[in-house]
Symmetry: C2
């Protein structure tokens, strides 16, 4: 099963998990307590997140703490860049247009 980060963030529960463990590492049970779902379901989500390296785990005794690989999130940012270029250009164009109108008014 090939995983990629865009598929990983497609699920709303997974996005919530990501936001949750971004701030502090948590165990599957602790994560599940934050949602209306079971540990097993969370476990499956964590597996998917781990597969695409969005999440790392750290064993402490019998507990496993999951935390976000924040750097991986930059991949989304990187993909978005091509569009950011476009919307910034359009903004500039609008800016120029407004400036031109202003100038004409004088």
């Amino acid at each position: 099963m090939r995983r990629d980060i865009f598929q990983a963030i497609a699920d709303p529960t997974r996005r919530a998990i990501i936001a949750l463990i971004a701030l502090q590492a948590m165990t599957p049970n602790a994560i599940a307590n934050n949602f209306d779902t079971t540990r097993q379901a969370v476990s499956k989500h964590l597996r998917i997140l781990t597969e695409c390296e969005l999440v790392k785990q750290e064993q402490k005794g019998r507990e496993i703490y999951y935390s976000l690989e924040i750097d991986k999130m930059k991949e989304i940012d990187k993909w978005l860049e091509q569009f950011r270029k476009i919307w910034e250009t359009r903004f500039d164009q609008l800016d120029n247009l407004l400036a031109t109108i202003k100038k004409q008014k004088k």
Copy 2:
């Protein structure tokens, strides 16, 4: 069928379509020619993209031109912001650390 933008970009073909029509409006056939897929498959993707308002259409005779609603892409950017804060903070911390080390060397 509830659609959201994260689900829309989960599919690699849809991401490719988005990138394609970001630059210029295109018809379903023209889009399909760029990939190894059929018009009908593209049509289904376009429908999903339209449902979550990521794409707009303009009829010209019997052709329908699809183009990207670039502003909608900002929603992803907005979601990413919470994580950008984190990775920028970490970067600052690293920055401070390096500065401290540098200072100690003097």
